[in-house]
Structure formats: structure tokens, C-alpha cells
Symmetry: C2
Subunit: 723 residues, 2 copies
């Protein structure tokens, strides 16, 4: 018996050795928040009794995807194979599906008929005398969403023994916009090249496409615009539509529809027509035929995204037609198939001397009510361009008869590219919770977006993707959080960005409270830090020309006045800021009367928007009692100090997570501190030169002269170079 | 006792479950041939007794790299932690190092002093009464190379019990040329973007750089040129040199030196000079200062690679100076630091009416003996441009006083891009084993390259890299073999490409003989298949204009005559081929007399070069007895049939390897068959139109009309689009 025992022990030790020696891959961020690593034993124990067997169909591709995700997730998190079963044989069964796919679920009479297409419920039930958890939707996709939610509960350490959840998306179209070119470059992309390998499509379907779909479905994203809004016509040729169809095939099981950015003049470029006039019958016929051709290949094609008559793009105004004429023509071509047009309001003219911040409103407000039923107007969160901070766009609340989509920018074009740790949740939340006052207090932007304010059922939210071929998808680990928070807020625009950050940290890194708390705090403060070291107190658009890298408040190299920083800050000996009051550009008048009055009054204007609405003397007294000049320097300095503090925080967290990701974050924070200091110093040097004022006491002077900062130039900036 | 036993068994089963449930990553090719997966038990057993403990220093970064590679490799292959020891405590020790780093090795008196810098020996020895294996070099890098060799023995299933190996590289500079631009694009790159993340350097050193260095060191590559031969001046600015230095730091432990492609006119562009005349003292001083600056940052910097006066690049001829003047000026700047100049012979003029195949020889042959001691002339393998098949370059053997480097193209610019399975080993071997007859029979190109023919000690071989950000590095699994075979042949140009293919298959995929044999056969036949479906019988340069994708024998769109296919094939009613005989362009005269006579005589010319040297009537009788016309069609058809056969072979191998790589190879072979058919059909249609001859009986006509093939156009071709 002793010998037998020894043999067992030997075998056991061998196995342990094997286990330890098994080549473990370095953590590289590829798994995103779907990181199904073995839970801590005490946590896994909580779930053992509630995950004994899986009862789920696989008759459809969505059901198969749901099944394999649950297997993958539960096996990874709990460290054992969960068995598949057709019936409940013991406590702890997980029953997943729809009344149509599962007789068991049909029998439970869960009232799934009252659920929306994409809704689900998760409920602790007793079936045939056994405790079980049911994840049910009316449609397959609801069950898939529910499965991801269930896994998230485990990943974030939540109890699962008494569940009674019911979730419905509040926004209908939850869409990523890829600013990807067909040559593989990504405009404002800081995470490598485009993940669409157009060249090898349709034959080769990279497994990464499936992981992309999984990640999106896990946060409820249900649409993706594959190509850049600065679109060419090639994407609409048969060769490329075949490639698009292959991607649509991969995404379909995950509830993700494909959309395309189209070039308004495509009928001329690939259709051989002499015009793209939206009222020309031949043009209309061409688009109808093109839509028919697309839907023949992709029956669930989502529709078109259009950037027209902006920054050089063709559009209906080339033919003296309105944006409504253009959008409606495309909408009519798509309508028979159920497609939509997402028409961008980001429009300004190179010849219009009007305040650029006013132009979109001026152009679109008069068109309210003129768009066909399947048109949405896609509006950037602020009136200028995705700056670190802007007031909300005045079109929100101003076009009651038109569904307005939100357009957020997930990629950090103006917020430090790949390396800066800037969690965008607070930015998104600030905009969504802003009150338009359109129907009095409580008329939040979120209610405009989810349709509840004006009773729209066609609703949407778009995010400009931060996704590329980098192994970690988004250029940094923390940038993944921005993709995540976008998806979660598109599902429900009233969620708290802090709660979402905490979810993400737990899923991505660790459930260790000693790690979670400081990291969430760091994330939540990070956006304000960036505002401070870049553009505090309502400043904006101070970055380098074209490439948008680094500070350049002095820059006058751009061809257009409203691409130049000086257009925005107006700094001189007397003061600083853009006067948008009634006696200035009167941009305040684009807001609801109560807000207009508030923004018009320097004393009532929130100081975070001060220099956006007012030109203010340097010696103006801020609420703190300090002069504007002192307060400006104080903010710039605070921004740098905040990053130093973030580095300090992070340095305390070594060992809580894998060395690979720890080290990359640490390196990127060091880059961020260097660049924050550069932003602060260059802006301080510039504004000091403009104001002629001495630095307030106690503040370090810039490390270099203004000349030095002005002399820097940056070839090969990512996301911009060489197109 | 029974309870105790049961507990053990339970624990054991739990562990097995855990082991099986541990999230296993999909195979994605990232590991390349350094795929240290657990060996089959019967194989691992052979090695257990010869890998009991590891005795190795870690005083230098190269020693540390060697140690961690051996630990990683042995742990992975044998499935257990190999222990580190300071002394031999039992049989099976592996002792690694140099006499300087290891007292044990010093004591063994292995005569390492007679070894070269990079040489090593691996020997089975007895130390202190114990059987052991010693891996020793004179320098650390030799020991690292030896360690990789030792691991290769295990990976390929070779015995390790009676070893007595001694290896020295036959070529001094074994260098990859990256045609990478600083904006991240790769000219002729089909594996994604550049792996150099210039933007985040020098701060962020991607762990991938280390894996790149490991892969290269494992096959003996000891240099890398980071930027494209079509170079800008920016790489020489301080900001970029700091980034280059960071890469050099990563590569240094692996014996890899960094080189840069430079722009000849850099003294004007970033130096503020009015000229780049190599005889101008200010220009000379600028380059000396630049070299000093570089070496201050990178003490072991390798040197410069230069493309001058070719395809629009600036060069010494802009100032009526010779290539020797230009190269020597740079060489003199580098000489004090030990650097070299690799000066490319790929030179032809847009205004020279001479046969393009002759121009490099015409230009460089007269300069033999005029280059300073640290200049190498880098010559492409053939006189035209990396075609599927060309005769060897006539400069080989023709410049006895000058070290000539070989330049191979690893990236498959002309051989099917990422997807076609074309193993380049036979191409490389064909060139290296070609006999220049420079000193009579046996004067092979290999002997020119390794210096033995003319007694040169400065020798080199360059390969244009096929490496990019694709997860599998090279765009396909089989393309990794081309990187591998290049390195192995650079180490020893007389190795057999079949032996190397077998090594690679075993290391990359499997040691299962049922898999190895058919895959090696398939690889060995693949290049001839590509020649057949693209450019058989000495044809070349029939591909699409600029982007080089697909067949376009008809193309006349290029601005230069010698960029047009018709320039090369001269097909008409009477015949086909380029007359390079004495009565033609007399390119034959550039070869040694015996070869010149052979190539001048249509009857003696090897048929694989027939149409390269001769314009031949369609009804010419080939050795087979068929007419040239029939034989041409036969070759084109055979090429397609070969790919069909490769698909058939591969389809029999499902299950021998992981599903992920199996599936990708299968998909790519399907693409290859489709494109091979297209090549065959388009060329047959074109040549049929030219010859006016009916297809020989038994051959299928092209699927489409010639018009159809001519009408195809390809936007966004990888490796070329939109620069």
C-alpha cells in the first residue's frame, strides 16, 4: 500500500510540475474585459453551487455563440468543465434561451413576450425541485446579452444566488464608427492599423473578427460602420461588398449589423453618372439599385453613415440642395429594406465667417421636421470637435422632430493618443447628464438620445472606435475602458461612469479591493487632469496643427482661420477667451433661454466653460478669489501634479497584477507625465508672453523658452501622417 | 488509509481538471519555430537523462538571455523545471558558457581560443564522474548560438547523447533589411505594418522586439537594417537616433547590430548644407560628425545601407562622382568606429537605353578595386529584380577585389504576397550553388559570398524581411520558413534547403513523420509551381504595374519602358523572349566566357532560362520534343495542377496539427489555387493572342476573355498603395 501511495504522490508531483512548467503566455491585453481567468478560491466557491450544468440549445449560430461563450467563461472562471445537459438533473443548472429555443423556458412562463428584441431577464428559479438560474430572452440575441451579463456578475464578484434582473437597452442603435481607410490606415487611430484585412477578405476571415464581435456583444454594441466618414466610393463596388458581406456573416451571430460610410458622389465615381444631385431621378435610381444590391448580399445591412459638405466632402449643397434632400434620397433607397441613414451634423464651411461653434446649429435647426422617418442626425457631443471639454452641443434639445444620435470619440485624438491614461467615462457622463432645459429642468441630453424627451423610437449612439491591430486592441490597457464605457452607456445612458469603471477594472485586472479602489479613483480623476494640463477653464483647440499632437497655442500654420488655436483663445495683453455672449458671436442664443441667460452672464457661467463663452480680463476675480491669470496657471500645474500622483498610486500597485501590463501602464504614465509637463510649460510660456504677466509666486517657470516649444516639429505622427 | 488514498485521488483528479480547463490560447503562429511545446512522451524520455540541471552564468545580458532561453525551451519541451546549479551534481548536466564566464568550462580545456567570435561547440563530456553536455563559445554570443542549436536538436527529435558539434558562421554579416518607413508602412510588406513602433520609442520597448531578437539569434542573424532603402533623412535626427539606440539596446544581448539606410542627400536636408557632393569637405565633415554622434549613442552600430542613384534616389552621380566616391566617403566616416557601408548595386537609369539587366554590371564592374576596405557591394540575386526565377547576377565572380554581399528578397513581392505557399529555400539554393566559373568549375556564388573564392574576410548576406505586425509575423505560417531558411543559409550558404525545410517543419509544426515528409515535399516543389503558373521557361516581370499583384503581360501603363512587361517578353506572332545573345543585347558577355558561350547557344541554354537569353520562335522544338508553344502552355497548366495537388496533400493532414493553423493554411491554399488559375489563364489568353496559335489539344481554354483579364484593376494592394 505504501508503494502504491508513493506512486500516486509521484504522479501528483509530476503533474504539478507539468502544470507549473506549461508554457504560460505573457498577458498582452488581447482578452480585453472578457478575461476568464480562474477566480480566487473563496470567490469561485460562491459560484460552484450555481453553475453545475448548462442547458442551452445550439440550433442557431447565436445560440452556439452563447453556449460557447458560457462554456469558455465558466470553465475559465471556475476552473472546471461545466457539463451540458438537456434537463435539470441537480441544483445549480443554468438554463439559457428563448421560449422558442427551449421547451424548459417556455414551460417557466417568464412573460418573455413583453420583452423587447434585445432584452433579457436573469432569474433564480426552482425547476423540477432544483435551484436553477434562467437566462432568457424573447430572441436569441437577448439570451446572448444575458449570458454576458451573467458572466460579468461572476467576473466582478457579485452574488448570483438570488437573481431577478431585467435589462433592456435604452438606445436602439449602439454603433462603433471606424475611421478606417481601405488601405489599412486609421484616421486618428493610435492602436496600429485597421483590423479589417480587406485584402484577404472575403476568403480569409481572421479569428480576430469573432473576438471583436464577442467584445462588442458583451457590452451591447449592435452595429459597426466599417469605413471612414471621409469615404471613397470603392467600398460600394461589388468586389468590396463581397468583403463587407463576409464580415457581416461573422458578426451576425453576435447581433451586430454592418453599416457603411458612403461617398455622396459615388454615383459619378463608380456609377458613370454626370451628377450626384439628390433630386436627379438617375441618381435616385442608382442609389436604389445599389441598396438592392447590398441587401441581396447582406439582408440585415444597417444603413449608411454620411459626412457631406464638410471639410471638403461632396454633398447635396454642391447642387444647391439641402442636407435633408441628400439624407432623404438615401433614406428612400434604404427604407424598403429597413435601413437607416445616419447623417452627420459636423458641418462647417471654409467660407462662412460665422463662429464655427454655431454653424452646425445654423444649418440643421431649420431642417427639423424635414427628414424622412429612417434618418438620424448624428451630432458630436460638443459644438467644436471632441475637445477635452466643451459644453454640450446646442442641437440637443433643439430639433424635437428629428432623432438625434450622439457621436462620441472613443479614440483619444485630443486626449493624449495611445499613451495618456484618460478614462472618458466622466466626459461622456458629463454630456449625457447635461440639462438642455428644452422642456424645462430635467431635459437631459440622455433623454434626447434615448428618445424619451420627444418620443422617438429610432434612437442611437455612435462612438469613434479606438480599435486597431495592436495586440491589446486599443493602444493601451486603459484605453480598453473607453471602448467598454461607451458600450455600457450606449446601452443605458444613465449609468454611472464610476460604476462602469469599477466593473471594468474587476473584469480586466483584479477583484482585489486594494487594487480596485485606487485604480477606479485614478481613472475617475484622469479626465479632469487632462483638461487641466491641456485646456482648462473652457479653453480648447490649443493642440498642434493637423496631427493634433502636443500644445501649439501659437500655431498659425493652418490654412483655415478656424483650424488655428488663436481663433479659439484670443489671448492678448488684456485677456483671454472667445466671446460667445449676445454682444459677441451670440452662440449662447443657440441654447434654451434659461441656459442662454446663464451662459451669457459671466458670473453665472460655470467656470469650467468660462473662456468658451467669455473673453475675460486677466485680472478677473474667480470664485476662488484668485485672478483668472493665477487660476489658469494653477490649473495647468494641477494637471501635471495629478499625473505625478497617478504614477505614485500606480507604483504602489505593483504585484497586484501581471508584470507585463503593470509595466506597460507604468511606462505610459511616465510618458504622460513628460507630455503633461510639456503641455503645461508650453501653454504657460505662451500665455505669459501674451499676457505679459509674471508667474504667480510658488509656480515653477517653464523648463524651456517659448521659442523652444514653438520650434518643435513632429513628423510621422500616428493617425495622421502622410495621407 | 483508504480515506487518505481517496483524498489523494480526488486532489489528483481536481488537478487534472484544472489542467484541462486552464484557458489554452489558440495557436496563432506567434512563437515561430521557437515553439517549445511538450514533446511526445517517447521523445521527451530520450532527453530526460541529458537535461537534469543547468550550469550557466548570468553576469552579462547575453548570458542571462541564454539562460532564460534554455530554461524556457527545456521547460516547455520536457514539461518540467530544469534546475540551476553551480556544479555538476549528477548525470545530465548542461554546462553553458565561455572559459571567461565559467571556471568549469575553463577547466575542460576545450580549445575555445581557436573558435571564432560567434562559433561554438557542443560536446558530450564527463565532468567529475558525471555525463554532461557542454555548450561553449569563445564569446557569450557563441554560447547563445550553441544553446539555440542544442534546443533545435530536441525540437527536431535528434539524439543528444553523443554530441561533438562545432559550428562557425561562414558569412560575417547576416542581415535583415527592413523596407519599413517611419510612418509604419512597409514597402512590399504583406504582414501588416512595421513592427517598429517609432512613435512610442524610446520610452516603450515592446516585448515583441525581444522576441524578434530571439528569433533572429536562433538562426544566426546578427544585423538588422531598420529603415527602407528608399530612405528619408529624419532617421538621422537626434530624436530618431535616440529611438534607434533603444532598439539597439534590446537587440544587443542577442548579438544583433543595428544598421540604418541613409539618404545620400541628408547633409542638405537636415544638415543645412548646399550640397551632398561626396568630395566636398563640409559634406565629409558632416558625415564624420554624424557617425561620431551615432556611435556615441550606439557603440556597436553596424553601419549604413545605401541605395543611391537608382529609382529617383539621390547619390554621388548627382555631382558627377562615382558610386565608389560616395561609398568611400561614408566608409571613411564609419571606419574609425568599425562600421561598414553596404552599397547597393541595384542601379539602373531611366535614360539609359541599355538592357536593364546589364546596367548594374556596366556601372560597378569598372569600379572593382576602388572601394575602401569597409565597403561591401550588395547585389540582388539576379540581374533584374527578385523574379520567380532569374539566372544569377553576373557581378558575382566579376569583382574579385570587392566584397560582394548577396541580397535576397524574403518578402514575396513577386511570389504571391502573403497567401501563396512558396518556400524560397530552393530559389536561394539555386542561386548560391550556381557556378560563376570565375576561377573555373566550382566557383559557386556561395564561394563568392562567403569570401573563400577571392579571400575576403568581410562578407555578408542580406534578406529583405517579410516581417510585420501580423500576429504570425510573416503574413502566413509558411512564410516563416522563408525567414528561417534565409538565416540558416546566411550562416552556411552550402546547407541544403530540403534539410532546412525539414528542421523548420519539425520545430514549427510536428515531428510526426506522417506529417513531416509530405509537407517538406510540398514546400520543396512550391517554388517551381509558382514559376510555372507565373513565369516559366525564363520569362519574368509579367506582373501588374507598380503593385506587382497578379498577371499583366499586356501592361503598358508604366512610365518607363523597362517597367513594362512587354519590354521583357517581346511576344509577337513569330516568337517570344528577350534576345541577350551576342547578336542581341549581349548580356551573355557579362558572364565568364564558358558560361557566356553556353547562354549564347540556344541549344546549350538551360530551358529554365531559355526566354531570358533568347527570342525563340513559337514552333521551336524543346528537349521534350514539344514545340515551345505547347511547352509553355504545359508549364502554365502544370503550375495550377501543382497547387491543386498541394491542396490535396494538405487536406490529408488535418488533425496532425492544431485546427487554427491548419485552417489558415487550407484557406490560403484555396486563394493560391484561384490566383494560380488566374495567372495561367490570363497569360495563356495573352500569349495566345500574341502568337495567334490554337491551344494544344487537351488544355482547357482560359475561363475568361483576354479583355476581361485586362479590365481588372486593384486598388489598395498591400505593400504599395497610396504612398
Amino acid at each position: 500500500m505504501n508503494a502504491f501511495l508513493r506512486a500516486w504522490v509521484t504522479l501528483f508531483l509530476m503533474l504539478i510540475t507539468l502544470l507549473c512548467a506549461a508554457p504560460t503566455r505573457a498577458e498582452d491585453g488581447y482578452d480585453l474585459w472578457l478575461r476568464y481567468r480562474l477566480l480566487a478560491p473563496e470567490q469561485a466557491k460562491l459560484y460552484q453551487d450555481h453553475a453545475s450544468e448548462l442547458i442551452i440549445g445550439h440550433a442557431t449560430s447565436t445560440q452556439s455563440a452563447t453556449r460557447s461563450e458560457l462554456q469558455r467563461g465558466l470553465n475559465g472562471l471556475l476552473g472546471r468543465d461545466i457539463s451540458l445537459s438537456d434537463t435539470v438533473t441537480r441544483d445549480g443548472a443554468i438554463i439559457v434561451g428563448t421560449p422558442a429555443s427551449s421547451a424548459l423556458i417556455a414551460r417557466l412562463s417568464l412573460n418573455t413576450q413583453s420583452l423587447g428584441n434585445e432584452s433579457y431577464l436573469i432569474r433564480s428559479v426552482v425547476v423540477d425541485g432544483h435551484a436553477a438560474t434562467v437566462i432568457a430572452g424573447r430572441e436569441d440575441i437577448g439570451a446572448l446579452y444575458g449570458a454576458f451579463h451573467f458572466l460579468r456578475l461572476l467576473q466582478t464578484g457579485r452574488p448570483i444566488d438570488h437573481l431577478d434582473l431585467h435589462e433592456s437597452p435604452r438606445v436602439k442603435l449602439r454603433v462603433l464608427n471606424h475611421w478606417d481607410y481601405l488601405n489599412g490606415q486609421v484616421e486618428r487611430g493610435y492602436a496600429g492599423a485597421s483590423i479589417w484585412d480587406w485584402w484577404k477578405l472575403p476568403d480569409w476571415r481572421d479569428p480576430r473578427y469573432t473576438d471583436y464581435a464577442r467584445a462588442n456583444a458583451s457590452i451591447g454594441i449592435n452595429g459597426t460602420v466599417l469605413d471612414n466618414v471621409n469615404a471613397g466610393a470603392t467600398i460600394l463596388t461589388p468586389v468590396y461588398l463581397e468583403k463587407v458581406a463576409a464580415l457581416a456573416d461573422v458578426f451576425r451571430p453576435y447581433g451586430i449589423r454592418v453599416y457603411l460610410s458612403i461617398r455622396f458622389s459615388a454615383p459619378m465615381e463608380i456609377g458613370g453618372l454626370k451628377t450626384a444631385d439628390p433630386l436627379d431621378p438617375q441618381v435616385q435610381a442608382w442609389w436604389r439599385a445599389k441598396a438592392d444590391e447590398i441587401y441581396k448580399r447582406i439582408p440585415d445591412f444597417g444603413g449608411f453613415l454620411v459626412k457631406a459638405n464638410s471639410e471638403g466632402q461632396p454633398g447635396p449643397e454642391d447642387y444647391k440642395r439641402t442636407h435633408a434632400d441628400g439624407a432623404n434620397m438615401l433614406a428612400d433607397a434604404l427604407a424598403p429594406h429597413g435601413g437607416v441613414v445616419m447623417w452627420r451634423a459636423f458641418v462647417y464651411s471654409q467660407t462662412n465667417p460665422e463662429d464655427r461653434a454655431k454653424q452646425a446649429y445654423d444649418e440643421f435647426k431649420p431642417l427639423d421636421g424635414r427628414f424622412h422617418a429612417n434618418v438620424l442626425i448624428q451630432v458630436k457631443n460638443g459644438p467644436v470637435d471632441f475637445q477635452p471639454r466643451e459644453p454640450f452641443h446646442p442641437l440637443f434639445g433643439a430639433m424635437p422632430k428629428t432623432p438625434l444620435m450622439m457621436e462620441f470619440e472613443i479614440t483619444k485624438e485630443y486626449l493624449g493618443f495611445a499613451t495618456h491614461l484618460v478614462y472618458l467615462g466622466p466626459l461622456f457622463e458629463e454630456v449625457l447628464s447635461a440639462d438642455t432645459m428644452a422642456h424645462g429642468k430635467g431635459s437631459t441630453v440622455a433623454k434626447v438620445i434615448d428618445g424619451s424627451l420627444e418620443g422617438h423610437t429610432l434612437t442611437g449612439m455612435a462612438g469613434v472606435a479606438n480599435i486597431g491591430t495592436d495586440r491589446n486592441w486599443s493602444g493601451s490597457d486603459f484605453n480598453q475602458a473607453n471602448w467598454y464605457v461607451f458600450g455600457r452607456l450606449a446601452w443605458n445612458p444613465t449609468l454611472s461612469s464610476r460604476v462602469i469603471a469599477e466593473e471594468w477594472v474587476r473584469m480586466t485586472f483584479s477583484n482585489n479591493e486594494a487594487f480596485v479602489k485606487p485604480v477606479v479613483d485614478m481613472m475617475m480623476g484622469s479626465r479632469e487632469a487632462a483638461v487641466d494640463y491641456m485646456t482648462p477653464l473652457g479653453l480648447l483647440h490649443l493642440m498642434g496643427p493637423g496631427h493634433h499632437y502636443g500644445p501649439a497655442p501659437w500655431d498659425a500654420s493652418e490654412s483655415q482661420a478656424d483650424w488655428r488655436p488663436v481663433y479659439y483663445h484670443h489671448a492678448d495683453r488684456l485677456g483671454i477667451g472667445f466671446d460667445r455672449t449676445r454682444t459677441g458671436s451670440d452662440a449662447v442664443a443657440q441654447y434654451a433661454p434659461a441656459l442662454a441667460a446663464q451662459f451669457n452672464d459671466i458670473k453665472q457661467t460655470p467656470e469650467q466653460y468660462l473662456l468658451y463663452f467669455h473673453h475675460v480680463p486677466w485680472d478677473y476675480r474667480m470664485r476662488s478669489g484668485q485672478t483668472l491669470w493665477s487660476e489658469l496657471i494653477s490649473h495647468y500645474t494641477q494637471g501635471v501634479d495629478d499625473i505625478k500622483q497617478m504614477r505614485e498610486t500606480w507604483s504602489q500597485l505593483e504585484g497586484y497584477i501581471d508584470a507585463e501590463r503593470y509595466h506597460q501602464v507604468a511606462t505610459f504614465l511616465a510618458i504622460q507625465e513628460k507630455e503633461a509637463q510639456w503641455w503645461r510649460d508650453a501653454c504657460v510660456a505662451y500665455f505669459q508672453n501674451a499676457s505679459g504677466l509674471p508667474l504667480p509666486t510658488g509656480y515653477a517657470p517653464p523648463a524651456h523658452s517659448l521659442n523652444y516649444y514653438e520650434s518643435l516639429s513632429f513628423p510621422y505622427v500616428p493617425g495622421f501622417s502622410s495621407w
